[in-house]
């Protein structure tokens, strides 16, 4: 069975956790010079397979062959020495160190035990330049956005002389431009004979780069396919285990609801020095307003001001016609605002608390410590959302950190839905969420706005923005450049607005 051209072969892999059979009898074959996508729904076992391969977890059974010889990495460092370089789903950089230190960590060049700082810096700059980014590499990593952090983690992985490169959802926070730069590098590495494993929920990206696709479902192996010979819909039905008709895909195509007319929240020339130039923004009940723009264009900054995380230093915020100032998330949540932040690990999950506790947290915080949500109600809420969002967890008492990335994201969404807000700000809410769940969430958004909720929707995925928004506000360089409504909303127009303002000046 040993494939002569195979670079890396995983056979009969199984792995169980208490209450969960994460993998059973799974196989994966990576050949030299190929990009291989590993696909599956949230919780299918993709990240677990990668962690078993790279020694983060011990496997319960199965065999791993690298170049035909059996290997058994006991730690990620050992896997790296064997030539397997990995970017994990949860970016694991050391937050207090500089970008340069993070990239070169563990492989610094020294003379007589002294670090050569200049060399380290140059090496880091070069590694990042390959991805087309130029940033100050002496800056502390945690000061950069999650997207930059993701790029730093990728640059770190690319900087290693490896035979196999593994990327677990590396592009979840990236823009088209960065994704394209990454793909260029990947194609070059592929030509050099590397085997590359790529995990993503963006089907476009899968088809843009992969030669082969391996599909997992519920911890089991479904099959391996040539990308060119597997139509999209078939891939989806293989992942979901059921047919998803073209019609159903279309059904969720465009928001069916009509937006309300009178805006209840108005931003008038609201801005903040250094992060957002003064802008106007209005949102009405039942309306989905998309915020579009490149990374660092001011999308998240706008959301942070509305939710009281940052203070506006000019302009006026009006709620129901009255001027207000929002100074804390607590206050914002009291006004029935909700905010699903983009950095799941740092800003959203309470890792060791249960799924139930993570879901009730915002609602409970809103009611105060004396307004205890009774245990039965908590359990009811948790069960309701676990079902509604199809959250994969053995039980509501499971610590959230043990859930798969996409399922953690769903729990955070549930947290804010449970608090029943009037305005829900979603910053990259579908980050790491599988195709099926994305459709479910889009349907849910349409339903909620039908019931009068307003949604401020931030997404790097233009298609998603176009499909869901009643109105799209385009930002560029921390400044609002235009507002599109109705028929004007299209990917082309948004892209044009993002790019065009250059020539206007």
């Amino acid at each position: 069975m040993a494939d002569a051209t195979a670079l890396l072969q995983l056979r009969g892999i199984s792995k169980g956790f208490p209450g969960v059979k994460a993998l059973s009898d799974v196989q994966l074959t990576i050949r030299r010079g190929e990009i291989h996508s590993l696909m599956g729904e949230n919780g299918a076992g993709k990240s677990t397979l990668i962690k078993v391969l790279t020694g983060v977890y011990r496997r319960d059974g199965g065999e791993i062959l690298l170049n035909g010889t059996s290997i058994d990495a006991r730690s990620p460092e050992e896997a790296q020495r064997l030539g397997i370089s990995t970017v994990y789903q949860e970016v694991n950089l050391i937050p207090h160190l500089s970008v340069a230190e993070n990239i070169c960590l563990g492989r610094q060049t020294t003379t007589l035990g002294f670090l050569k700082w200049k060399e380290i810096r140059q090496r880091a700059e070069k590694a990042l330049a390959r991805l087309g980014i130029e940033i100050d590499v002496t800056e502390t990593v945690s000061n950069y956005s999650i997207a930059i952090q993701q790029l730093v983690a990728i640059a770190r992985a690319l900087d290693i002389d490896a035979k196999v490169l593994i990327l677990d959802e590396p592009t979840s926070s990236l823009d088209e431009k960065e994704v394209e730069a990454l793909f260029t590098v990947l194609r070059k590495l592929k030509a050099e004979g590397l085997g590359i494993v790529f995990v993503t929920h963006f089907l476009d990206q899968v088809y843009a780069v992969s030669d082969r696709i391996t599909v997992l479902r519920n911890g089991t192996y479904v099959g391996e396919y040539e990308a060119a010979l597997l139509p999209r819909l078939q891939l989806i039905s293989k992942m979901m285990g059921k047919e998803l008709s073209e019609l159903e895909m279309k059904a969720a195509d465009r928001v069916a609801t009509k937006a309300g007319v009178t805006p209840f929240l108005k931003l008038k020339q609201v801005g903040r020095k250094g992060s957002l130039k003064p802008l106007d923004l209005e949102i009405a009940a039942g309306e989905i307003v998309g915020l579009s723009g490149l990374l660092g264009s001011g999308r998240t900054e706008t959301a942070r001001i509305v939710f009281g995380l940052d203070r506006a230093d000019c302009g006026e915020l009006q709620l129901d016609g009255k001027a207000i100032s929002i100074t804390s998330p607590r206050q914002a949540s009291g006004l029935k605002f909700g905010f699903c932040p983009e950095d799941r690990k740092v800003q959203a999950i309470i890792p060791n608390l249960s799924v139930r506790e993570n879901i009730v947290l915002a609602l409970q915080a809103n009611r105060g410590w004396m307004g205890y949500v009774s245990r039965p109600t908590q359990i009811q809420l948790a069960d309701k959302f676990i079902k509604a969002l199809n959250i994969k967890t053995p039980n509501p008492e499971q610590p959230i950190r043990l859930l798969s990335g996409g399922n953690q994201q769903k729990v955070i969404l549930a947290r804010w839905l449970a608090s029943n807000p009037r305005l829900l700000i979603l910053d990259e809410p579908t980050r790491g969420i599988d195709v099926g769940a994305k459709l479910e969430i889009e349907k849910l958004m349409a339903q909620l706005t039908g019931e009068g909720m307003a949604i401020l929707f931030i997404s790097s995925d233009l298609e998603e923005t176009v499909r869901n928004s009643h109105r799209v506000v385009v930002l560029r360089d921390r400044q609002k450049v235009c507002e599109l409504r109705g028929e004007e909303i299209s990917e082309k127009n948004i892209m044009h607005a993002i790019a065009a303002s250059d020539s206007d000046q």
Binding site: G61, P329, R330, I350, N352, L353, L361, A362, A365, G368
Partner: protein, 331 residues
Amino acid sequence: MNSAFNSPTWHKLKWPLAALMLVLLYNYFYTPGFFQIEMKAGRLFGSLIDVLNRAAPVMIISLGMTLVIATGGVDLSVGAVMAISGAIAALLIAKGFALPLVLMISLGVAIVAGVWNGLLIGYFKVPPIVATLILMVSGRGVAQLLTGGNHIPFKHAGFEFIGRGYLAAIPFAAVLTLLLFITFVIISKRTAAGLFIEATGDNEVASRYAGVQTRVVQFAVYAACSLCAGIAGLIATANLAEADPSAAGIGLELDAILAVVIGGTALQGGRYFLAGSLMGAILLQTLTTTILTRGVPTQWTQVVKALVIIIVCLLQSEVFRRSFQRKPATA
């Protein structure tokens, strides 16, 4: 299977409980009369009762310390706060103040000390070790200044009852400990305070984003911890019938922190176990009493304590336990 034996509380409690059982078993065989409890003039006497009575101050402080540690902090100033509350109580009694007023003022000052810690930590973001170290050092100085560096002896039957009295044959300090424990458990389980504390300790940023007032949480836990220290200070002072600000509560902060850690609450914050902390405090006191009654040279006390603590903490460490049950990787 009984669900009570599956709960995380039981999971954390079993190792300190086992250690306690071992120490008790040792005493059963080697310390004659350790388990004897006598009824004299309507009061219970015996080594076990003595353990409870002596452990009371550390147990009470460990309750407050548990909440502080659960938020990811630590309070080093509890010993100094004990000294302050004891000194103030003794001075007020000497001046002839009424008992309720004495209690209110001395405990009020303790709470103020906690709010001060909360202010430094929650508002000015001073690291907890530094913030409470400031009070640890300066607080004892304040207590000594208040008393002019002297012992303040007093006679006041009502006040002395707190440290020496008996209620239904049981030492009043032990009864008070139980009442405080019940109060803390109710606040933790029947209000949302427990959730807010654990969330803040587990991920402060995310908790704030979810609308939890993490600053208020920090104020509250340091105030509660200081209040506990204040109460412990009154017990210790009442027990001696004198205030001794240079000796009161010395080293108790470390015992309280140890009790909490033995009880299963991690120093990084997050989940907390009040019953575990009490168990930890009782274990520490039982060890001390055992060593004393066995006539072991007192130099050994700290060494033996340290050994037992290391064992309990290692047993609680997942990594440590797993290294003994390595499964072969491949089938």
